[in-house]
């Protein structure tokens, strides 16, 4: 394996590791569910895609002919990342609307003080019941 191939593979590996680390730091550090969804679905996908391309270059240089099988993994990750982000944000939005999750920017959960489960739903039910009792 020539020196330039080794430099290219090393560079791709370092870029991949960096972006995967950035995505996971974003997952751990960002404040609420929707911003947390933003970091891993983009940065981590790019990082692992870069590692996959590094393996492709390495395998092609070792075998002496182009081997494009690894592109399947990279392509699969790139196609499925938006689908995962969309379905997960739909689930998070539904949990937010039904009151079983913390609102964006709500830091009450960060220090372990959880609101009672279904507090918003309970309040809505109580309001409905109060309105119904005034009816003859």
């Amino acid at each position: 394996m020539s020196l330039w191939v080794e430099i290219l593979v090393s560079l791709l590996l370092l870029v991949g590791g960096f972006f995967a680390l950035v995505g996971s730091i974003g997952l751990a550090r960002l404040p609420d569910s929707f911003t947390r969804m933003h970091a891993p679905t983009k940065a981590t996908t790019l990082g692992v895609g870069s590692v996959v391309v590094a393996l492709l270059v390495h395998g092609s240089a070792t075998a002496g002919r182009p081997q494009l099988g690894e592109l399947a993994i990279s392509l699969f990750l790139f196609i499925t990342a938006p689908v995962v982000a969309h379905v997960l944000s739909k689930a998070a939005f539904r949990a937010l609307r039904t009151g079983s999750a913390a609102a964006p920017g709500d830091v009450g959960l960060a220090d372990g003080k959880e609101p009672p489960p279904g507090a918003a739903v309970g309040a809505a039910e109580a309001a409905t019941r109060a309105a119904g009792s005034t009816r003859p």
């Binding site: 090393s10 996971s24 569910s33 590094a54 949990a95 999750a101």
Partner: protein, 89 residues
């Protein structure tokens, strides 16, 4: 040089996996935990590919492909369960 790069990438991916597990244990909502599991799967794919480079075989390619597919299907199934209680409508 390639050895140094492989070791550094192992360290970065290992730190990323540790952060994902931290979010998986800590994460306040179910969606955060599902997202942490999905990111964990993607990072593990990276580690498996890196193992393929370090050892110099093509055996790990199929394992990475299967991990990618199972991770995607699992994430979508868990999210659909959260959405309506039904996985297949």
């Amino acid at each position: 040089m390639l050895t140094v790069a492989v070791v550094l990438t192992y360290a970065a991916l290992g730190t990323a996996i540790a952060l994902n597990i931290w979010r998986l244990v800590r994460g306040p909502d179910a969606t955060d935990r599902i997202l942490a599991l999905d990111t964990l799967t993607i990072n593990v794919i990276g580690v498996v590919m890196l193992l393929g480079i370090a050892v110099g075989t093509k055996v790990y390619f199929e394992a990475a492909l299967i991990l990618a597919m199972m991770g995607f299907v699992g994430t979508v199934a868990l999210s659909k369960y959260l959405l309506g209680g039904d996985i297949i409508e």
